[in-house]
């Protein structure tokens, strides 16, 4: 076997190991995110008492990679976004499948979650997020 063949094989094994570590690391990261988001959905339903399926999750508003999410859903049964929305800021560790609600705000029906549409802000998550 030539020297080139041996060097190539060593490089291939090293690249393979790097890709394997990256894949497993990413899988763990995704599992962690899924675990957190499932807890977020349960928390929204537990807090509002509504067992709705269509709840939107935003991971940017409170800071990307901050592990703080905003979940918005209808305040009464209707198609997605067709009623007044309640948005909750949720963060903290998962305890018994739930996380902590730190406040939130409301949105009128069919209005996206942008600062100009928010009203009735409450709690820490809602501080300074309503236009008035």
């Amino acid at each position: 076997m030539s020297r080139v063949w041996r060097i190539e094989t060593v490089v291939l094994v090293l690249v393979g190991l790097l890709l394997a570590v990256a894949t497993v690391n990413d899988l763990g990261r995704e599992v962690g995110i899924n675990h957190r988001l499932v807890a977020d959905l349960s928390t929204w339903r537990h807090y509002t008492g509504h067992h709705y399926l269509n709840i939107s999750i935003d991971q940017e508003t409170l800071g990307a990679d901050s592990q703080r999410e905003v979940l918005c859903g209808n305040t009464s049964a209707a198609p997605p976004g067709a009623r007044t929305q309640i948005c909750l800021g949720i963060w903290g560790p998962v305890v018994d499948g739930l996380r902590t609600v730190h406040g939130g705000w409301y949105l009128p029906p069919y209005h996206p979650d942008i600062p100009a549409n928010r009203y009735g802000c409450f709690g820490v998550a809602g501080q300074g997020r309503c236009p008035r």
Binding site: V4, E8, T9, L12, G16, L18, L19, A20, V21, A22, T23, V24, N25, D26, L27, R29, E30, V31, N34, H35, V38, L41, S42, A64, D65, G97
Partner: protein
């Protein structure tokens, strides 16, 4: 080797010969059962894994239940494990009986045909791409629009538009003019007719690719049964490639036609020119396969492949320009545009996460392109020094998919038919490892808490 070691190896081979048919049947049953489960559950509709589609598998509705991530991933993992077992079995049995192996030709063909037909009969799986193909065809034929200038959003009132993936509605076609022309005759058949046409095209391309893989393996002294099973029973090939009716299968058919012309039969300038022309034809379907051309030319060191390629490029350019204008032959622009996309399944994204970055940045695109260039230059140097050009081409295709920031399951199928017809076993091992890592990366929903 000592006499004792030889006799021990002989006994092991006898054991493999004895158990191979029974074990192979068991593994085949798992593969078939997993494919049936996915297709029947997929036919029930309302699944995040099945794109919105006109009903084409309604006659299967009612047998399965809605396809969820858990069932899909369990079926995918089961078929991956069975496929892995089958690969080990056929490789070992081919070593024991290099000419025929321990698994019969008929059995292998029956298994591969069954898997392909099961998926063919079912709904479109896992991708909306086929609806983009149909939309581009209908833009050209039914609406008089150039699919190289407009995205499907230009035909919002067309019946295919609701089925096009929302990420692609503004994107003009990135496929070659030959593929676009091949899809045109299907446009007047309506969405359902065109969908079946696309599925049939993918099935025939797959059958052709497998037949040529068989031919190449036999010509190069490998067990063709092993080659057929490794490609044709591959879960990504069957479920993702054929299940989504991807045009990569047509590109792979052209690729294997080129390889077949150079490795089977008496070598001649005419065959080499024809092989180069097939590579160009493949690139006029999907540009990626053009990477084979420099390896073929460097390996042959003759004028024939260059002339064959130039003639095919000239014909393709004239036809492409005549039908679609300059945009129809500007494959470089299409490749550059697609190279900027980023998918969560790409190794580039995984590596970015590994080093704590939120994702891939423009500098990473440049680094990856640099790495790819280095790999291709090294492979060209190796080919110049006598390394098998088919293996070098396979490595190049694998390197393209691994360094791409936009990685999809059917991209890591490209090197597979080449890997089974080359002496460098590392290529097959590397291709299967990359496929396995891709599958492992899919399983996070399986590990999520049950709601």
């Amino acid at each position: 080797m000592s006499v004792a070691a030889q006799s021990e190896r002989g006994l092991a081979q006898v054991r493999i010969q004895r158990w191979a048919p029974a074990l192979a049947t068991l593994l085949a049953l798992v593969l078939v059962a997993a494919a049936v489960e996915i297709v029947l559950d997929g036919a029930a509709g309302l699944s995040p894994l099945i794109p919105k589609s006109p009903e084409i598998a309604g006659w299967l509705r009612g047998i399965g239940e809605r396809l969820g991530f858990r069932v899909f991933l369990i079926a995918l993992l089961a078929s991956t494990a069975a496929y892995g077992g089958l690969v080990v079995l056929v490789r070992r049995s081919s070593i024991a009986r290099p000419s025929t192996g321990a698994i019969s030709k008929r059995w292998a063909i029956a298994l591969v045909a069954a898997l392909q037909l099961i998926v063919f009969a079912g709904p479109i799986l896992l991708s909306t791409d086929v609806f983009s193909y149909i939309a581009y065809a209908r833009m050209g034929v039914e609406h008089g629009l150039n699919p190289y200038l407009h995205g499907p959003v230009a035909i919002v009132s067309d019946p295919v538009f609701p089925y096009v993936g929302e990420d692609w509605v503004h994107v003009a076609t990135a496929y070659g003019p030959l593929y676009t022309l091949l899809s045109y005759p299907l446009a007047p058949l309506g969405v359902v007719g065109a969908l079946w046409g696309m599925k049939l095209e993918a099935l025939l391309a797959s059958a052709g690719t497998l037949a040529l893989t068989w031919r190449c393996a036999r010509a190069r002294g490998f067990d063709p049964v092993a080659a057929l099973l490794i490609v044709g029973a591959n879960p990504l090939y069957v479920i993702y490639g054929l299940g989504g009716a991807h045009n990569d299968l047509i590109m792979m058919l052209a690729m294997m036609a080129a390889v077949s012309l150079t490795v089977a039969g008496t070598p001649s300038a005419r065959r080499e020119a024809g092989a180069a022309a097939w590579v160009v034809a493949g690139a006029l379907i999907k540009a990626t396969v053009a990477v084979l051309l420099p390896f073929m030319i460097v390996s042959k060191r003759r004028l024939a492949p260059i002339l064959g390629a130039l003639a095919a490029i000239a014909v393709g350019a004239i036809v492409g320009y005549a039908v679609f204008g300059i945009h129809g032959i500007d494959l470089v622009a299409a490749l550059n545009r697609d190279a900027a996309f980023v998918s969560t399944d790409s190794f580039a994204t995984e590596l970015a996460h590994l080093v704590g970055k939120p994702g891939v940045f423009p500098i990473d695109h440049d680094l990856l392109k640099g790495a790819l260039v280095l790999i291709i230059v090294h492979l060209l140097w190796r080919t110049w020094r006598g390394y098998d050009w088919v293996a070098a081409s396979g490595w190049a295709l694998l390197a393209i998919s691994v360094t791409s920031t936009w990685l999809l399951a059917w991209y890591i199928l490209w090197p597979l038919p080449l890997a089974v017809v080359t002496r460098d076993r590392r290529l097959l091992a590397a291709t299967l490892v990359v496929q396995l890592l891709f599958i492992i990366h899919q399983i996070s929903p399986l590990l999520a808490p049950v709601r």
